[in-house]
Amino acid sequence: MTAATTIDPVDTVTASRGPAEQDTILDIRNLQVFYATPTGDVRAVDNVSFKVQRGEIIGLVGESGCGKTTTAMAILRLVQPPGRIAGGEINLDSVNLADLEGDDLRETRWTKLSLIPQGAMNSLNPVMRISSQIKDTIRTHEGRISNRELKERILQLLQLVGLPSRVYDMYPHELSGGMKQRACIAMAIALDPVLVIADEPTSALDVVVQRVVGETLLDVKERLGVSMIVIGHDMGLMAQLVDRLAVMYAGRIVEFAPVESIFNEQLHPYTQLLIESIPSIKEKKPLKLTEGLTHDLRTHMQGCIFQLRCPHVMDICREENPPMRALRSRHETACHLYDDDGVRLH
């Protein structure tokens, strides 16, 4: 991007679309997902915009109910009624997923983007062998393939995620939790997608297996150059895995920055409280972030969404919704606490 400024104006158009733009795999613009309830729409995801570059891992963190999983389900077009995508664009490889219907949508699924599910325990069909579950995916999208070729390919996938080849003939209940999760990872990369969404890939696993699954994901990314969105609460996993971290609160992204940057300096008061609430073995600190004070998601809130819980709330926070601004290099935050140069006001 810096090179673009030195190139003459004619080339600027192509140059500014240069590496960064072309390498954008996923471009989400003003995504809105609402859940219909008898007393009005719950705005589960409200005006979320972000981009994912090729080969990049994005982390999506935030408390339960903040819209992380809903965002992921919206990208996969798996929002179940009464939920619906109320607006926005989901551009994956310059195709707007939000517009796809029927067979177009079905054919895009798994070939372009796949899912590593949250509950790996129950995400595999209990009455089908692991191999059959991978087979039906490949056959559905690629048509007739000889059994021998298919078997070879599946064994390769299993090897890639560190599973022994005997898993091929096994049923899900014969695998441990970590093995099931790795089988899910093998399935997710079977069709070489450009984007993999991992929804809390390590929840319900013990710490050692969490670490192993994290390493498997990283290894898969390195080898295949696939982009990932990893959703989770586990800050340790995020630190191990992701390039950039997005912090969500009440259906919006409040802070988005490279992971080192965010661990060094949290700009948004919510992120500060979130990081502070990670238990420490050195000191017993009181929990500053309290539960149950999120505003009613059915009403549109005047001003900042975090004003009810924010320790630094100012008058302007009740009036104006803070826009996302890059306050540090590549470090964006939606907060009135800083001026345009990123200097904290009080």
């Binding site: 996969l76 899912l115 039906d136 559905t140």
Partner: protein
Amino acid sequence: MSELTLGYFLRRLGMWLLTIWIGATLIFTIPRLAPGDPITAMVERMIQQAGYIENSADLIEAWRARFGLDGPWHVQYRNYLLSMVRVDLGYSLANFPARVTDIIGRSLPWTLGMVSIATILSFCAGNLIGALMAWRRVPAAIRNILPVSLTFTSIPFFMFGILLISFLAFKWKIFPAFGNYGRGVEPGWNLDFILSVLHHGLLPVLSIVVTSMGFWALGMRGMMVTTDGEDYMILANAKGLRSRRIFWFYGIRNSMLPQVTALALNLGAVAGGSLLVELIFGYPGLGYFLYQAIISADYTVIQGIVFMLIVGVATAVLILDLLYPMIDPRITYSKGQA
């Protein structure tokens, strides 16, 4: 999945034999606990009808010997078990010298044919309707029509049978009112006979199917709704599988398991449960003869048919035990988890 082992098969076969033995013993015991005995009762009935019978005491003795009812109970029991093993169920009391095995042999194929076809049809139709009622991708218009097909579930099947006879057989004369095949048709593998059998069997089958379909449909709908909420259904959608494949291989396949158990138990009870249907349609099956035996106090026939029912249920459970691990891989043939 561990393979079907000889040990497992023998264990299950042992259970099967044990069940039948206990059943046979109960059949042997219960009539003997009741006061009086069938021979005396029958001879007394004959005396009432005829006024007087010479040497009635000798007659009773002779018949008791003929039916194996003399001698101490353990001798009787041994002879009884031996005859059961030889599938010799003795003679009918009411229609002597008809053999019980002949009566059963004549009626069993009709019952098995008619009722098991009805049960299987009802099972398939009911489960499909139930699954479609729970499947969200079915157009709402069709999903709203489906429950209408279950209206007749609340009517007892014999009532529905009477309804069918009075309209389709008596009023409009489209179907025969009774029997298993028409007069003047030569039984055998010829088209006339087969058509006649189908023609006669349709109404009884219909009355069972229409009234029992709802049982399967409601069970299936509940299971399907549960299955649809499972994580693997979400993943199946995310995988971009065709809707039809998800419906059959992910939805129905997983929802079927409890339904299959119920089917096996139903098949076992097929003969007994069809009693009223066979009676209404004058269909000469097991249930029909059971009814005849009961009203004429024909103990040996009752015993024989009840024994057949016990064998039927035990065999169905045996087959289910052998099949279940193939349907659900989480159930294994191994000893520890059986």
